[in-house]
Amino acid sequence: ETLRVGMAPEPYPPFASVDASGNWTGWEIEMMEALCKAASYECVITPIAWDGLIPALNAGQIDAIMNSMSITPERQEVIDFSNKYYNTPTVIVAAKDAGITPDQAGLTGKVIGVQVSTIHQAYVEKHFASVAAEVKAYQTQDEANQDLVAGRIDAIQADSIALDAFLASAEGQACCATMGAVADDPEVLGLGVGVGLRKGDEKLKEAFNKAIETVRADGSYDAVTAKYFASSIYGE
């Protein structure tokens, strides 16, 4: 049975991006293949912009979303999720010598950049917006990183892993460093990343939950992770 899996074509390395030959690569792609194999589905990637993923799912143009979409209470009102398949800490990154700490005190009067309509935006709006000078929302994480380098913003908040590549780059090394993880708030930051599914699609939800257990158990989860990360990203 084929399954149309929605992915945003904007690159989100190392999880999902398209290379110059048009092939999809990344941890999430390989994980999708592993999960689909375990659940015996034939999965086809359907590129849909991040903005359109949930509408497309509900309009029936895709059957599942695997695009690092965190399980949040708000999203759960319109779509269902499988259990989480990864969860990573959320960090603040800023200029090396900025002396910023990842809490209200440290971010007072600062300009913070986040990717638009992510859990990070929600978190920053909830916890820091009252003290920060401004919260700026970028279309992609890369653009936020760019502006941090340019000095237009003082700090960014994002997924630790998504920022690893940036911090490892020449630009990133020159300017910035991790200032630490923010305090957890499951109501906003959610319960990790799960597969987004149409409401009431219990069959598929079951299948994905089973598949996640299977790949965790048979070692293929760790095998894929080892290709991209130094340590496990499943979370506790």
Binding site: V78, V111, G151, R152
Partner: protein, 256 residues
């Protein structure tokens, strides 16, 4: 407007009202109060970006058009190139290049962060305004070129024959006539400019379209925010059209 009361128009109006009513009653509008301040702010931002960029853009467009229509080649050529480049490339790319392109130069010029200009350069709206203004200037420069070129020759000849100096001919004959002939076009172009403003969301300037996308993302309600923003744009476009019609009406110089 005059004949709004023809039967078929009444039916069409009723259908429209019915649709609107259906959307209002059946829709999920619980989010509206919470986001109202943001929405108002977004509308305000859209409006001032639009108005300022049109004013700045148009004041650039007049010399651009004039240079192309009747300037010497060393003015006409750069003006022509400017208009071609602006019209020939997507506005989105122009905004990106201006904002992130310049931004990527900042790390290599450290003193810029100490300069007087830094508070301005640091913001996103100046880039948005500049990009929108240049874009409008590019398109309208072309429009003005046509307008200047199509001022009937006889009108200018009459002025010359009466001994008017060149500058006076421009300010008292060509310009007013060109303006008059482009007013209808400018109205349409202003609506196009309105529709171009959402692009500045890509550089973090939150105007009304970005606000409603934000609402959609936050609440995951798909259609109601879209309907709202559609309605807002319809109203703004309507205001522009009415405004320009007013301007046009003021100078009715042709038999109806």
């Amino acid at each position: 407007m005059r004949n709004l009361l023809q039967p078929h128009r009444i039916i069409m109006l009723l259908i429209a009202l019915g649709l609107v009513g259906l959307i209002v009653i059946n829709g999920n509008w619980g989010w509206l109060p919470k986001y109202m301040p943001m929405i108002l702010q977004g509308i305000w931002r859209t409006i001032w970006l639009l108005v300022l960029s049109i004013v700045i853009g148009f004041s650039l467009a007049v010399p651009l058009g004039l240079a192309q229509a009747s300037g010497p080649w060393y003015l006409a050529l750069p003006a022509r190139v400017f208009c071609t480049v602006i019209r020939g490339t997507p506005l989105l790319l122009q905004i990106w290049l201006l904002y992130y392109g310049l931004g990527s130069l900042f790390p290599s010029i450290p003193w810029i962060r100490e300069s007087e200009l830094w508070p301005l350069l640091r913001q996103a709206w100046p880039y948005a305004l500049v990009a929108l203004s240049l874009s409008y200037a590019g398109y309208e420069g072309e429009v003005m070129r046509g307008a200047f070129a199509s001022v009937p020759r006889g009108q200018l000849e009459a002025a010359r024959a009466m001994g008017m100096p060149g500058r006076k001919i421009f300010s008292r004959i060509s310009l007013p006539q060109a303006l008059q002939s482009v007013l209808p076009t400018l109205g349409g172009e202003a609506v196009l400019q309105l529709k171009a403003t959402p692009l500045v969301a890509t550089i973090t300037v939150v105007e009304i379209y970005a606000v409603t996308s934000r609402v959609r993302q936050d609440t995951l309600i798909v259609y109601e925010p879209l309907f709202l923003v559609a309605a807002i744009y319809l109203v703004l476009a309507g205001l522009i059209v009415l405004g320009f019609r007013q301007l046009e009406g003021r100078g009715t110089r042709k038999p109806a």
